[in-house]
Symmetry: C2
Subunit: 152 residues, 2 copies
Amino acid sequence: MKIDDDVRIRLKEKFEEFIKSKRMRQTPERFAILDKALDQHVHFDIDELYRDIEKEYRVCRATVYNTVELLCECNILRKHYLNENQAAYELADDRHLHLICMSCGSVREVRDEKFNQYFEQLKFKQFKPTFVSTNIYGICSQCSRKNHKDLN
Amino acid sequence: MKIDDDVRIRLKEKFEEFIKSKRMRQTPERFAILDKALDQHVHFDIDELYRDIEKEYRVCRATVYNTVELLCECNILRKHYLNENQAAYELADDRHLHLICMSCGSVREVRDEKFNQYFEQLKFKQFKPTFVSTNIYGICSQCSRKNHKDLN
DNA sequence: GTAATTGCAAACGCTTTGCAGCGCC
DNA sequence: GGCGCTGCAAAGCGTTTGCAATTAC
């Protein structure tokens, strides 16, 4: 995610306060997982994060699941469901659309200010929105080219 | 879905043509599954569909998975990923946003013409979109009320 | 007739759970 | 010191796969 140091510090403090406010414990595992989560690509899954953490710490998968769940409650991360296999996580304040290739499964991010404005003004009866996950399914250029070749 | 009879017939013909064009076989299972899929709620999962089919036909789950996949390729159904557990399917031409409660998992549909217009005019470099799945996560009014009570 | 499709059952992969032991408060 | 949290291993659950039997063409 190429996070600035000051953002990283701010998020660590935010997590710390969240943990304190819930009367939970500040374990080294929790902060290690936050730190590595901030090193990931725009979106990542539990397995990618786990394999990265594993290099440096001795932490088990279940703990990664638990902590990432906490980071979502704390509004640092957000959980998206882009495709079949597994949940994808992203930094909460990085808003974008997802272009998802139905052929190869690749995901590309597209930022669009008009889209953000549209959602800012949306209001619903009887529903308090927290965040939006917009997933556009189609075919990426690489697969499109490949399909044309395959037809020859 | 409360489908009109003429729409039902048109979709059956569409599926029939799709099957023929692919040189596949017109099995009774395939048409039974299409028929029952059109009886479901706005969105449904494989298990709901299977349990409904099971009442009337002897069809196995794997066949339901296979056929629903075909119906997606044929552009009659669309596959959405609203939450953890399983894929949700919807009629392809019924466009709406999903309001998903992060507390109870309920899903509500909201139709918005402005949203459709926004997406009509969207264009991407190197990506051919097929459809959009817009998922708004938040808290529904029922859970909101419940939480307030729990705090007392 | 024959190859696609089906039912069945087992396998797969992501996620959750139960539990004994560790370590934060 | 107590109990929340961890690692570990097993279980859970939606989905896919392999295979023999069936059936559409």
